[in-house]
Symmetry: none
Subunit: 316 residues, 2 copies
Amino acid sequence: MIQKILEVIEAGQTFLIAAHESPDGDALASTLSLTLALEGQGKQVTAYNCDGVPGDYRFLPGCDKIVNDVAADSQFDVAFVLDAGELSRAGSWIKERCATLVNIDHHPHSEDFGDIYFVDDKASATGALIYRLIKAAGWPISEEIAINLYTAVLADTGSFRYSNADGEAFRVAGEMVDLGVDPWSISSGLYESQEEVRLRLLALALPTLRVAECGTFASIAVTLEMYEQTGATSEHTDRFVNYPRSIRGVEVAIFFRQIEAARFKVGFRSSGTVDVGALARELGGGGHHNAAGGMVDGTLAEAQNHVFTKVGRLLR
Amino acid sequence: MIQKILEVIEAGQTFLIAAHESPDGDALASTLSLTLALEGQGKQVTAYNCDGVPGDYRFLPGCDKIVNDVAADSQFDVAFVLDAGELSRAGSWIKERCATLVNIDHHPHSEDFGDIYFVDDKASATGALIYRLIKAAGWPISEEIAINLYTAVLADTGSFRYSNADGEAFRVAGEMVDLGVDPWSISSGLYESQEEVRLRLLALALPTLRVAECGTFASIAVTLEMYEQTGATSEHTDRFVNYPRSIRGVEVAIFFRQIEAARFKVGFRSSGTVDVGALARELGGGGHHNAAGGMVDGTLAEAQNHVFTKVGRLLR
């Protein structure tokens, strides 16, 4: 399959490279590493994402190349759709605008929409497939390409912590580090760059920690008063639920976030068998088995008592 | 140097393997990987750490082998002191109890206390040196050894995120994953499974956050009183320094840990150009460019003022 792709690259002159909407690190960095590699071969490349580049990823070399609009009359010799799962997540119109359509993906059951289907659902990231392509072609890997390939693999393996971080993921990362990538500059940009007010808010929220039912569930809360004291906003509460969740033995983690004087949003995370989706639906909300949310009226104490009774019943 | 080590291993029958006090993941996992490897060669090994095995690391295969006491009359053919920086951090008595003393370390300026000095301050972890030793010897790497080698490298590179995560670190990790290590089971055990008291301690420590010099450095502190209030111990402060470090713009993060009424251990992390190793040596301590520690006398306010003045001078 790689050989076929190299042939159409060799023969083509104009290329479109796209990835799925609401792009994550793998989608963007795969787009950019292939774009930079093809440009290095003297090709004319349009890098496209319907949602552009989110702020977190503005450090990716070449990200300014990504456009969120393509002229209606443009035609391409070859279009690559990366990491998309389905063509519609990248743009259904792409099929009509190219002579050859290539699907490169690692999603299981990725839709077979292309002329060439290079899908390996065992790969840790689509970036790992771009790496294989670049290596097979024997193209040089510049530091800019290296940063993108590294970031693609990093992002889709949860910083090399998920079970999909396979030997290839580590080897790709190691090679990119040898080529000049600094792991810290990337991970700190992506993961360790919070605003001081978020930590100040966390300092107020953590003392609200309640652990109940023999340690099987735990909660923390953020109140409107805490926003006032710190200057933080609800945006800064992202991932706060991970604190109660991180306690050994906790099966259900709960995050109470005050939105009105007597009203709380309640977020649930389950790390085990408890279906918090069902729980959230009882509270007029919804979600998945492992992550869900709903709404409760009352003071914090009332909201906690109401929710704790329900959760406690499930865990007993 | 590796050849010399393999010769004394070949010739010896009884071994002591020790690492620094208050052991971290690299110290413990290096101890265990070398212990298991030598046992695999039919050697008699005593694995020792004066502080035993902290709860967080009880998942390490073989950790029950580590004792915190060695009979006063015991003698060893060879003693390995790993990751210690100085012999006294592992136990000065070790020198008198062995025919051959081997220092394996990656700390810069590691004390030259042994008969054999295998120190590479470019190595990401002491575990990477144990890996080199095992590979040079051609010994098999069991899954138990693989988990330890993986954890050693993971722990000292901050989950492959620090700048010391070099190509070797990633390649060692990749090889261990190929040998059966599941990244998620280790990182979730290590980083997402804390005791409730640790979170209670964090709740008291976070309000001590100080951010200074236009946000370029930040500190938090843990006092003896906080231990009393929560039932936590110094063990639970592991990685607390990551909280000030996580603030956008912070170049030097500082963690003050009270050890006596008027005495603080001070841990430093640098994410940039500042050499906190040099800073720590000024305080009678030591460490690397990016991670180091020392000691300061006084109240918390006095210790903070003393350290902040020094750090401020470096950052201006």
